[in-house]
Subunit: 261 residues, 2 copies
């Protein structure tokens, strides 16, 4: 399959904006980790939107049980919202069988930027193998897979690039019995794919990332990690660095409404 | 010193556009390699500009011996220009003691985008150690060094990212006696720096890049390398992969006029 990586929604040329069959949006710290956690905790759906006003309007227009509002601005909970952006807030008791509306600084924006695709999924370390499995199941041989790193306010951030590289590595492992990547089943059609893969392989071999704990340490050195620590959310790094704890793949249905896939 | 990397001029946030003390522009394939080669061959100066029309106007307005026009569009020489964009064209007999005017698709654009700096230098594999030496000589302890990868038509390309990583590695080696990078003399203030460094270290350890020949092979796999091969300029990859063959550092003087530094 052909694979293209966006290191951030800004870091792409017009030629890298062709229609994708599958787009996978990655905002490890924390939007896509939260979405995966919330749907795993039994939330019925998560609708994403760009602004606080939009979220409030969606709630006001809802019929029946109103949706719960979730998200952050500058890492912190939004006044009047039900939940912030820490995965640990999302329990079955809190969000089970409820519809959620989420707005975050970077993740929901990346979803909009990458909207030109047939299938959109949300990925994080917590569901990396499940996403790889779904990509392989859904993707025709000549289809285009696009991995979209959300980044932070337009800057490329390492936590999302590492996750894109990890997802490429897992896809390769599921499809090939060789460690050689360049002549394998994934055809990296832009250089950003190789750069993301190198970043992840470097992370494993040099930074000795082997488990959630060592990944959390590595995440603490990234731009997103530093921002979270500065805002007092260091504890979220362990949740966001937990690998393959969920089988849930948030998958877009109508509009920007995601359900467990 | 504080170091910031732009993986391409598009791949940066507004926060990454503060004034830099030194900006180093990197367009390995081929603008900065050509500029370094031409000044090493004795050219007096190279003025860069964005358009073919601008280059022709500069020539027309010149007093005394007219400048030579150099550059490319879609990898190929420009009608009516004296030289194309292959390093091998630039010999002492051809450009010695002459002023040059250069326009290329990505390199000269990156120079404009990164213009907010006190000192601008051009770097490539052919002068990597000389550039590192000059950065260290010029940079105050609290100064900001920015490495700018030119990329291709807005896309991030691996050849420039690898070179940025190589330059970081050489700077580190000149300033430190430890292999540990993260607590060393270079303070990487955005994540793109770590990503570039990982790409280069991966290139050395996994792709076995140790000399010009193995680097040329690696460059042939990059977006810029593929474009050059498609246009019939595969031979340039060896010249552009030659490491430390020149001590020349193209350095901006007035306007966008570069001289040997």
């Amino acid at each position: 399959m052909n694979v293209e990586v966006w290191l951030s929604p800004a870091a792409v040329s017009p030629a890298e904006r062709d229609h994708a069959h599958v787009a996978v949006v990655i905002d490890v710290l924390r939007a896509t980790t939260v979405a995966t956690t919330a749907l795993s905790a039994g939330a019925k759906s998560i609708q994403t939107c760009r602004t606080v006003e939009e979220a409030l309007q969606i709630k006001q227009a809802a019929q029946g049980q109103p949706p719960l509002l979730c998200g952050e601005r500058e890492c912190r909970p939004i006044d009047g919202f039900d939940f912030g952006n820490s995965p640990s807030e999302y329990s079955p008791a809190g969000v089970g069988d409820r519809d959620l509306v989420m707005t975050t600084t970077n993740g929901t924006r990346a979803i909009d930027e990458a909207s030109d695709c047939d299938v959109m999924m949300l990925a994080c370390f917590a569901n990396v193998s499940a996403v790889a499995q779904r990509i392989i199941a859904d993707m025709p041989d000549d289809g285009l897979l696009r991995l979209v790193c959300a980044g932070t306010n337009g800057a490329v951030t390492a936590e999302d690039v590492l996750m894109a590289g990890a997802l490429l590595a897992v896809c390769h492992k599921k499809l090939s019995d060789t460690t050689r990547f360049y002549d394998g089943p994934l055809n990296l059609i832009n250089d950003s794919g190789g750069i993301a893969l190198a970043a992840w392989q470097h992370c494993i071999s040099h930074d000795k990332v082997v488990d959630a704990e060592s990944l959390a340490v590595r995440l603490s050195l990234t731009q997103g990690g530093k921002n979270l620590i500065a805002a007092g959310y260091e504890g979220d790094l362990v949740d966001c660095g937990s690998i393959d704890v969920f089988d849930t793949v948030p998958t877009r249905r109508d509009g920007n409404r995601f359900v467990a896939g």
